[in-house]
Structures are given as structure tokens and as C-alpha cells.
Symmetry: C2
Subunit: 359 residues, 2 copies
DNA sequence: CTGTTAGCGCTTTCAC
DNA sequence: GTGAAAGCGCTAACAG
């Protein structure tokens, strides 16, 4: 038994008694006017030998790698993992290969990951949930190399098209729902972000605030104060629950508690639930709570979470579509620089019911 | 401003007034006997131009890609995501590039992912938590291509070295602990796996059973029956909580409930907690519960979970180390084919306390 | 319809 | 100390 090595095009061609170029043409679908016989023969032999083209040689010759990079800041955040995976699916569907990295798990995270993307000659890059602190220098490296980048969720960066859930609408829907249940004294719990950064970078937080305030404003004036709390979120991706818990613990120190707390995302809500349990504050009886993202775990938490479902699949598809267009050298269309897809209100137990609210 | 394109070695060499081979030697550290001047000049110019070697060209010429593939079946399973990420870290540390794919998010999952690994000419493959149903044909493809494979957790396959947590010891520790608290009538809830498969493939479940039974056996005979329930686990990675919940719902139909239930992993435990909440069975007062894996969420679940912490980092390092050795053509050492690393008992609230158990 | 040819960017002998 | 040259596997003109 000879030591079988990876078959090359040359071997296929030889076996078929043809030239490499012929084999190449046929296997690449440019089989325009080859005789049915040769074509069949080449294809059969390739299959029998288990021939797979060498991507490196292809990339080299074609001067394009056919790879799209996905850079995620997911850590333990289910919602981010899901977005990244949907992006991977969309990339494959669009006919590209995927190079996927979670920057959190590397030494010197972002920088190394970006270098590796550059080295691999990715043709485009999807940034999944980039934080406001994502280094602009790295984005510059891609711009210099003429590699288009799109963001899927996360913070907003100049010149980078972005697809994300309409957080403003989502938070407005949540707030309206809580108000309609009769809850008063609402409180929005969101991370303080991107200290010293362009305001645009903090959009995830800012839009949540907007939606929250809008819903409050459109309701009757007698509703009392809407409060927004900006909480710290160190190492968010690795300690999402802890951060939410810490924020809620702080809030629970107060003599007078809010009636309903809207958390920035499901992970914070889970941490918040935990803090409530510690202090024996019953949810939703004494305090209503909502999340954002509709991650699977929110359905199984202590109290199932009312939340906003992100259309992850549609978002990912759209982002990759835009990226593919940019790779092809097409210009952005009017709506492309910022696509906001609507989230969907998912009502579960954590927001309470009308009757309980009036307690 | 000229359209900057990716600089090649040729450009670096030209700018330095030297030949490509010289530049190559210097930049690859084979600068054995070049003058200090030339060396410095080449290095400086390379840095200024932002030169990065073209991986494809390198792979081609060196006839090795320098890439290790990571194939995960994680889905929403935090423990698996963590293992995969630790593996990625270990791979980078070992000086290889990473090609990471979660097979669940691709059409025709496993097969496509394996093809893509093969196409990329990975030098080795880490299989993270492969299910018992992982197709052996795919493993054969790697064997034929002389690409070594190691499993990090998951099922066991012939000829594939594996590194995993010692589930038997872990489950024995959990069981002992529950017994020491005074709990009787214990029940182990594990997935029925790999229908019609080699028994070895089902080791994750089998070892849990062994540990469970051993602890029971070594204790007094008067402890009553230890029961093992094999529950269905369709699409485990995408519906982990649901599966645990379904299994527990079934169990809760019984007239007489077990006093303590040991779940196969934390995700099942969370689903189980959910089922208990539905039926108003209080944990741990009426029923103790334990998980396995120590995923972050278990600390924040309805009732914080007593569980076994997997030494993910050490496991990943070990797996990659073995893989690297195989890639270098070295033979396996005596312990390598199956490495079992000890898990650590983490005691939280879900297992109850001695006093409650005697209730 | 099929084959010849010229590289893609890099590494690696082997000469000088 | 440095450079010339060959060639990895593949594609894409261009010839026949």
C-alpha cells in the first residue's frame, strides 16, 4: 500500500491522459466546449482520487483568497456567538470561506487577530459586536489594504457600514409595554461606554436611552420620573452576569426602589435577577425586569425574561450582502451605511402582568 | 496618493537594494552571517512598508500550511465554546494559525466543515466535544491525508487520541458529596447516546455512570437504589436546556421522586431547574440537583449549581501538545492515547446542606 | 476542443 | 555575505 498523499491537478490530468489546463478548466466549470467524454472522465477521476484544489495555490494565482474574516468579541455572550455563527453561515452561503476568531481568547487580542486576518488576505471583514473601544488604528490597516469592513451590531465607527437591531424601537416597545401594564417609576440600566470616545461609538447605549425616553414622553405626564443609570461594565464579554449583578446590587441599596428595571441585555438581566434573589426582592411581584436580545438562556432563567428578539439571521445576511458588494467594488447604496432591522417584543414572566403592577 | 497595495518581499528587497533571497533569509531569522547593516536595513524597510509575508505563498513553498483546524459542536453550549476557545489559544501559543468552525452552523455541517479543513490543508485537527454520531468516514479522510486528529472531550473514537475531564472521578465526587450530606435515593440523568454505536463512543455517559455507581457501592448498603435514567437528547447543542427540562418533566411525573438528581451537565441542570420550578418542586429543599462543567451560567441560575469544574485550559494545552507532536511525526507516548484530567468539585446551593437532606 | 506557457510570492539549495 | 534559479499547484491568456 503506497503512502497516499494529497492528489494534485497534475495527477488527475495524467490519469486522464490530458493536460493540467484542461482538467483545471473542466473542474472550474469553464467546461464551455469540451467533449462530453473528456469532461466526464476528468470529473470521475477527480472524484475517485478525492481531489480537492489546493486553496493556497488558487489564492495565489487568482490573487484573491475567497475568504471573509469574522472578528467577534463574544466571550460568554450568547447573543454575540449567535450573530457570529449566523454571519459564518451567510458567508458560506455567499460562496466565501470563513476565518473566524474571537479576539478575547488571544494574547493581545484585537491586534493579533487583525494581523492574522491580514496575513490570510481576507477579502472582507465582519466585525461582530465591536465594543466602543475597538482600536481605530486596526480599522485603518484594513482601509489601507483596501479590505472592506462591516459591523454586525456593536458600536458605530466612521466609514464602516453597520447592520444592527433597531435598539431604539426595541427599547421603546419594552417601555411602552411596561407602562401599559401600569408600571411606574421605570429605570433603565445600561453600561457606561467608551469613555472619551466619539458619541457615535456609544450608540447601543444611546439608542436604548432614546427609545426609553420617547416611550415615556409620549405617555401621560403624571408618570413620575424615568431614570437612566449608567453602570460600569469592566470586561463585559467575560463577566456579563457579574456586571449586571453589580449594577443591580447598587440599585438595591436605595431606600426607594424603582418599580421596573429595563436591562441593557439578557445577560445583565440574569445578573440582576441574581441580585434580586439575594436581597429577596421578588420578580416580577415587587420589581418587573426586562432584558434585550432574546438569548436562549433568558427563557430558562430564574424568571423567564421579557425581552427583544434580535433578527440575527436577517442581520447577518444583510451585513454579508453589503460586504460582498463592497468586495466586488460596487458602491454603497443609499441605505447601506446604517441598516436598522426591527426587533420583536417577546413577553414572558419577568415583566409581570397588569394586575400585579398596580399592587 | 498612490493606491497602496500589499507589499511583497520583492518590494522590500528592491527598496533595500538587495535580492529577494537575502530579504527572505533575514526576515525568517536565518540571518546567520549577514552583515549587521543589511539586516537592519531590511528589517527597517519591512516594518516601514508594513510587510507581511503572504501565507499562501509560504504554505505553498514550505509545503505546510502552519494551520491547525478546530472543529466544534458547540452551538449554545458554553462549556464547549470555552474549550474551543482555549484550544484556539493553545494553538496560537504553539505557533500555529487557527481555523475554527462550529459545524452546527453550516448546511451539511460536519461534511462541509471537514472539506473546508482539508482544502485549507490544515496540518492537524482538534475535535471539540464530538458527539458519538460523528461520521467515521470523515475521520478516515483525515487519516488518508495523514492529518493527525485529537479529540478534546466528547466521544471516543478508535485511533484518535483524546484529552478529557475524568468524568468518572467527577461524578464519583459529586455522588459522594450528596451521600455525605445525607441524601438517599439518588438518580443520574444522562443522555442516551450513539444508538447502535460502539460502546466506546458513549464514554461520556458511561463514565458518568461508573463514577456514580462506584460512589454508591462504596457507601453503606442501606442506601436504597441508585437509579440511572437515559434520556433522549435530540439536537443537544442547539437545545440543551430544553432537553434537560424534558427529561426532568418526565421524571417529575412519578409518584415518588428521587431525593437528589445528578444531571449530565450544567445545561441539563438548568433545564431541570426550570421543570422543577414549573411543578413547584423546591430545589434544594425538596430535591437536590447537580450539574457538570461549571459553566459560568451555572453560577447565576435560579439556584447556583453544585458542579464539577473542567480544567479547560490544561486540557486544551495538553491536546494541542499531543497534536503538535503528531504533526512533527513523533510517536505517541504511553499516556497520550487517553488523557484524563481531574475535575474539581464546586459546591454551591443546588445540592443543599446536610440538615435539609435529612428533612 | 485541447495544450503550452507564464507566472502568483515565497523558500531553499547551491554558486560565487 | 550575497544572489541566481528552481519550483510549490494552480489559472488564464494565447496558440494551435
Amino acid at each position: 500500500m503506497r503512502s497516499r498523499t494529497v492528489p494534485t491537478l497534475l495527477q488527475v490530468a495524467r490519469e486522464a491522459g490530458l493536460s493540467v489546463s484542461t482538467a483545471s478548466h473542466i473542474l472550474n466549470g469553464h467546461s464551455s466546449r469540451y467533449s462530453e467524454v473528456t469532461r466526464a472522465s476528468v470529473e470521475k477521476i477527480a472524484r475517485r482520487l478525492g481531489y480537492h484544489p489546493n486553496r493556497h495555490a488558487q489564492a495565489m494565482r487568482r490573487k484573491r483568497s475567497g475568504v471573509i474574516g469574522i472578528l467577534q468579541h463574544a466571550g460568554l455572550l450568547q447573543a454575540a456567538v449567535q450573530k457570529a455563527n449566523q454571519a459564518a453561515l451567510a458567508v458560506v452561503t455567499a460562496g466565501y470561506e470563513v476565518l473566524n476568531t474571537d479576539v478575547l481568547w488571544r494574547p493581545q487580542g484585537v491586534q493579533m487577530a487583525c494581523s492574522s486576518m491580514l496575513d490570510a488576505h481576507v477579502e472582507g471583514l465582519v466585525l461582530v459586536d465591536p465594543p466602543a473601544t475597538f482600536p481605530l488604528e486596526e480599522l485603518r490597516r484594513f482601509r489601507l489594504a483596501h479590505i472592506p469592513v462591516v459591523a454586525l451590531g456593536g458600536a458605530r465607527f466612521p466609514e464602516i457600514p453597520q447592520v444592527r437591531v433597531d435598539a431604539r424601537q426595541g427599547m421603546r416597545d419594552l417601555t411602552r409595554h411596561l407602562l401599559s401594564l401600569g408600571h411606574r417609576r421605570l429605570c433603565l440600566l445600561i453600561p457606561r461606554m467608551g469613555e472619551g470616545r466619539d458619541e457615535a461609538a456609544c450608540w447601543p447605549s444611546i439608542e436604548r436611552q432614546r427609545g426609553f425616553r420617547e416611550a415615556y414622553a409620549e405617555a401621560d405626564a403624571a408618570l413620575g420620573n424615568a431614570e437612566v443609570i449608567l453602570a460600569e461594565s469592566p470586561n463585559e464579554a467575560m463577566h456579563p452576569y457579574q456586571n449586571g449583578r453589580a449594577a443591580m446590587r447598587e440599585l438595591l441599596q436605595r431606600p426607594r426602589l424603582p418599580r421596573a428595571v429595563l436591562c441593557s441585555n439578557d445577560d445583565w438581566a440574569i445578573g440582576a435577577l441574581n441580585a434580586c434573589a439575594e436581597r429577596r426582592v421578588r420578580v416580577p411581584e415587587e420589581m418587573a425586569l426586562t432584558g434585550f436580545d432574546n438569548s436562549m438562556i433568558g427563557e430558562f432563567s430564574m424568571v423567564p425574561l421579557t425581552t427583544i428578539a434580535q433578527p440575527a439571521e436577517a442581520m447577518a445576511r444583510r451585513a454579508v450582502e453589503i460586504l460582498a458588494r463592497l468586495i466586488r467594488g460596487e458602491r454603497l447604496r443609499p441605505g447601506d451605511p446604517l441598516v436598522r432591522l426591527p426587533g420583536e417584543l417577546v413577553i414572558r414572566r419577568s415583566c409581570g402582568t397588569g394586575s400585579a403592577a398596580r399592587m
